[in-house]
Symmetry: C2
Subunit: 506 residues, 2 copies
């Protein structure tokens, strides 16, 4: 076959693979939103089958052969130098996925999928019974499976790095440590200063707000921020998420809590940030494996940028608060915009990661990163996790959970064997502020635009500067391409220090 | 391989086929309910891919080999006599589907799918422009494709019978004619009598009723009739339908029209009737190709039984009207239950099939059946359809459309090449009343139960008597098994004659 024909065939396989993945994503979306209760088991079987078929196709011997014939090897994933750059990037992604999958024996894949299912079920029970001991054997099994996986991939001693690479390609634990150590210090210092001045009280935030009106307001937010409802939708689920069912079908979910009106607002904005990314890939990457986010960290940079940097800013509420206050005038009549903005930016060390404020959030992540490293270096065994967890909480956040359900059992990730995932959340904060600085340099009036409810300029800058690359680059390459710098703590730390010294007045 | 192993393998293939079909059904359901506007094309590609994969699996050479090895041939589809009856029925269904598919050359399947797509698009345009001429070449192509299909199946001269067999296995045009001729006479006679007495006026039916309240009432109906919401759901779509996404996931849709409050009620009940059937197959047929309705006609017997025989009866509203009236007291304060029941049973010859009442509905079907036969006998050519349509409308219903959009172009079926489908609607009326008679013989107090809002007995009788067979039997076999008789016009005609002489008082 000629090169063109080889590439064309590979693109056909890839696009069919993507279609199957999108179909599977619909099955999952439906499971979280509309699936009747008794259909859960059948749905799992349908999903398993569909994902199996998709997997078979993208790691078929034919794909291996096509990649080789195009010069793509594990050592030189981008293939023949004579190929167009776009195709070489395409080969790199396909080779990476191929290598990752093909090195895992089918028996291992099957048995780990089964073990993950059991482990997740055990975690749910353990959390609800606050019974960590019952979860220990599953956790140990998840660690051992991840270790084995890294072994198959030929990670040698660098097991944890191999796991990190799944979520944040190219990064190492050492690099993250080099970022998290200074970040930890600056966050703790900031937290101490905040703790030393009068605290913010915002009782109006925990009053009851009609969930129907919250829903209507979230729909209003979609339009306000420029979410294209012809290419996506908002639904309700127990845990907010974003999912891509096609280049023109990106769906987000939120949830409405009567006594926490801002929960739905910020989770809607957060997921919208993810969705803007997924909706923003250029036409040439449409329907291909390059039309995806670069990494979890870069993805999280987008959701957190919109949620926190934009969504929790005074400028943002300058434009939005009048509308919001009018809709909830019964509750907010006496609440000034300034009080509202102070309320939604209240800092308070707490036990639960997903409820944490901007300042403490990354400390929750750093804790998990430290423990993951110890689990994989062998310095910490699963049964000792609660003790270490609680001690580190005390040290980092000055508070300690009374139950494991509020401590080490709070997150689903480890029960699924998703070790190495947590750091992306904090890395997202770092990436986000580096991008934000660059954006503000390129668009000097960004803040004024936000205050006027004008987001097109920001959306377009992100699309034309960031999203345009799809997953063609590694995260570090993308960051350098956009900002001309390496990943760094300063922009994020300085942003927090400035913002919170303003808010708390020190 | 031993027989057990052959059967087991065949069941694995079949259950994976069913899962893929259910996944495809979700994609379709979503397309009709929640899909963002711009994602329509992508969805078509996803669906095409998924259905292609499902199709490949169920007509693979392996399936052909397994069927043969189990003794199933086109002549003896049920296979070796030594096999258990259930397995023999299973083989029969698989052989039928296999033969139907395998005899069509892949090129023919592809090109007809494409032609059907174009034809449907052309029909949409033709209907909206009231331009039958533009649709003629497509219609001719659809007739020719259907003819060719029957030829591949070896139908010989009996082309139309081969098409009928897709929807109503085992029936012939001659048999249908033997039923429709007397039915036509009795319906026309009844219609004339109704026309000779004072008509019913029910202006309250076309007043405005809040769509939100209509929705809430449809949800109430689900519970009232015993629809298990843990195994299904109700959503909204432009055209109401029922779809099966799994043994425990049967979904129905309805639509809410402000100035037609009963439209949503009767379409909800109609689709619920389909859903009861799909939800009622026994455990042993779960997830297999035997866990399906017998035929379109039998399916329609269930939806029409619930919608018309039960849902439009005075007994039904005796139980439900107080609740309904209370919910819409602004509109219905002055409307007695008797007036309401008369209103929803008003008979009036009209142009549009899907808006027809119980008496005229079957006449719309008979007209289509007559024209389809003429199209396939060659007595009528596509371009002459409108003239014949209008003349037959005048003769059968005493009215004539002013436009083809309200006439020959009103239904989608022919544009998809679904010739032979229409008769099932009227056959459903006949089956339905035969089943209903038997049910009332077995449950003498059925009507009283309905008046008390008690439907469990009726649901259970249908489940244990009808649904229990899945698609193990042919329609005629099932009818005989249940009622001990052949398909006949009398029960349906007598039911109408009694009901409408009561309502119109003659």
């Amino acid at each position: 076959m000629k090169t063109e024909a080889l590439l064309e065939r590979l693109h056909v396989i890839d696009s069919e693979y993507r279609r199957l993945e999108h179909a599977a994503a619909l099955l999952q979306w439906d499971q979280e939103t509309y699936l009747p209760r008794d259909a859960v088991e059948e749905r799992a079987e349908q999903l398993g089958l569909l994902e199996g078929i998709a997997h078979e196709r993208i790691v078929s011997p034919e794909v291996g052969k096509l990649l080789s014939e195009l010069g793509s090897t594990s050592e030189n994933p981008r293939g023949d130098e004579s190929l167009p750059a776009l195709e070489r990037d395409f080969l790199r992604i396909l080779r990476r996925n191929y290598d990752r999958q093909i090195k895992l024996p089918p028996d291992f894949v099957r048995s780990s999928a089964r073990a993950e299912g059991l482990s997740q079920a055990a975690w749910i029970a353990a959390r609800s019974n606050d019974d960590f001991t019952a979860f220990v054997p599953h956790l140990a099994e998840m660690v051992s499976i991840s270790r084995k996986k890294a072994e198959y991939w030929g990670a040698g001693g660098a097991v944890y790095d191999a796991l990190l690479d799944i979520y944040e390609p190219g990064i190492t634990a050492r690099e993250i440590e080099g970022l998290f150590e200074p970040l930890k210090l600056r966050l703790k210092t900031l937290l101490n200063r905040i703790g030393s001045v009068p605290q913010i009280h915002a009782p109006f935030l925990s009053e009851a707000y009609d969930c129907g009106a919250q829903h209507t307001f979230s729909m209003y937010l979609l339009d306000y921020l420029g979410f294209d409802q012809n290419r996506g939708r908002l639904d309700t689920s127990a845990h907010p998420f974003t999912t891509t069912l096609g280049a023109d079908d990106v769906r987000i979910t939120t949830r409405f809590i009567e006594n926490n009106v801002v929960s739905s607002i910020f989770s809607t904005i957060h997921e919208m940030g993810h969705a803007f990314y997924e909706m923003g890939f250029p036409a040439e990457l449409r329907g291909t494996s390059l039309g995806e986010g670069v990494s979890m960290g870069i993805h999280e940079s987008q959701s957190r940028l919109w949620e926190n940097v934009i969504g929790r800013s005074a400028s943002f509420w300058q434009g939005l608060y009048p509308e919001f206050r009018q809709r909830f005038s019964g509750r907010l009549k006496a609440v000034s915009m300034e009080d509202f903005v102070r309320g939604i930016n209240r800092v308070e060390p707490s036990l639960i990661r997903i409820e944490a404020d901007e300042v403490t959030y990354s400390l929750h992540i750093i804790l998990r990163f430290e423990l993951e490293q110890q689990l994989f270096s062998g310095a910490l065994s699963p049964e000792d996790l609660p003790k270490t967890w609680n001690a580190r909480m005390r040290d980092l956040l000055g508070t300690e959970p009374q139950t494991n359900a509020d401590g080490v059992l709070q997150d689903v990730h480890w029960s699924m064997g998703a070790f190495g995932y947590f750091p992306s959340y904090a890395l997202g904060n770092l990436y986000g502020l580096q991008f934000w600085r660059k954006l503000n340099a390129d668009i000097p009036h960004a803040e004024a635009a936000i205050a006027q409810g004008e987001f097109a300029g920001i959306r377009e800058w992100l699309r034309d500067t960031l999203y345009v690359w799809g997953s063609r680059l590694e995260p570090a390459e993308l960051l350098f391409k956009v900002c001309g710098e390496k990943l760094s703590v300063d922009p994020f730390a300085e942003y927090l220090e400035r913002k919170y010294s303003d808010i708390y007045g020190f």
